[in-house]
Symmetry: C2
Subunit: 233 residues, 2 copies
């Protein structure tokens, strides 16, 4: 049983890790925004920058996983405290994957630039709405994680249908382009890969929100009808 | 410091968890195979079965996360032992996502059935190769996790390019269909979503292999050129 002193030290160590996870979140958010900027028409150098910066995201993942693991061994947290560390470990994985998706968007944007195809389709507008929704969900999920805001987490999980709906709109727009002019097929597919990546980023935001609820509630609400129940009540 | 007795108990508890993770792996493998079977031309009832079985995968995820967490609190493992528990927690997340991707394949297959479109394109052959590769990688990754086989894990990580190559082949085949007959666009896109899901399953197999190396080597090789170095030596 840790005494008061080591329990206080535990809190300090945990707070240091949480603050670094939030920095990682900030980096990943700016990677996503930059990638969307590239897709809209940034230059190839900007795309390369996003791709290069993913290394920093990856380094943070490894360092933070390590910090969590050290914390467990050194401070031997009780069940309640451990829940936060496990949630943090899972949040780190999701953030790293958001970094990966942002890199994929930047790579696609770069390929479009190289083929001189940026702006050939009116693809940006159809993507913008989705990107805004996902960026907002990611931001709100990190905020909910920082403040352990249970209500906000529940709200985020309920937004899944919005992204699905917006993806459907992109899909229909791209099918129309392809039907009208088969020469646009390749570019339309690139746009759809970007839309898929944005959809994934929304999924990761939802995962983060679920971990917040897991910490706050001390119960695992993944794969339950918990959110429906909360909305109905 | 745990004594001999509690250390032995730790080993037993850990072994029980590992064995359940492997059962979860087996379930997830059969979900993936069944989903591909559905895509080839199974009936709608079979698709529903895959979708329904995902609930069992989800329940296993929650139960196993919980078991890992209890193990840490009860047995307070030292750094080396903890590494295995953390790797197990991450493997569980990857397996659950493989279940999700399999469900997505089954849903797409069901939609194709409902539109009477199975076999309209020669899409199965173009998918088969990819599905076989991913299924093999997943199987080998679980096997490497069971036996903590470091060599096999390294080999799995090196197979990434194979899946990418096979995805490229599916993509080209689908673009050809769409160019030749724009009425096939919607069905070709469905095939591409299935291909993406299969690609993801390959990624999860790779993640599992990375966790095996993390446990065996006691170092985090994610995002390093470790695999290149091993292959060169």
């Amino acid at each position: 049983m840790p005494g008061d002193h080591s329990s206080k030290q535990y809190d300090l160590d945990l707070e240091a890790i949480r603050s670094k996870v939030l920095s990682m979140g900030g980096l990943v958010e700016s990677q996503f925004n930059a990638a969307i900027e590239c897709f809209r028409g940034g230059n190839a150098a900007r795309c390369d920058e996003v791709i290069k910066n993913d290394e920093s995201v990856n380094r943070l993942e490894v360092a933070l996983d390590d910090a969590c693991s050290h914390l467990i061994v050194k401070r031997q947290p009780a069940a309640n405290d451990l829940r936060m560390v496990i949630a943090t470990l899972k949040v780190i994985t999701d953030l790293e994957r958001v970094g990966d998706e942002s890199t994929k968007i930047a790579r696609t944007a770069k390929a479009l630039h190289e083929r001189g195809l940026v702006g050939v389709l009116n693809h940006y507008e159809s993507i913008r709405l989705m990107a805004n929704t996902s960026a907002e969900l990611l931001h709100d999920a990190l905020d909910a994680f920082a403040r352990l805001d249970h209500k906000q987490a529940v709200r985020i999980i309920g937004q899944d249908a919005v992204i699905d709906h917006e993806f459907g709109a992109v899909l229909r727009a791209m099918i129309t382009f392809m039907m009208e002019d088969p020469r646009t097929i390749s570019t339309a597919l690139d746009t759809l890969w970007v839309a898929k990546a944005i959809e994934r980023i929304g999924d990761h935001a939802k995962n983060i929100a679920e971990y917040v609820i897991y910490v706050v509630e001390g119960r695992d609400i993944r794969h339950t009808d918990y959110v429906q129940t909360q909305k109905a009540s």
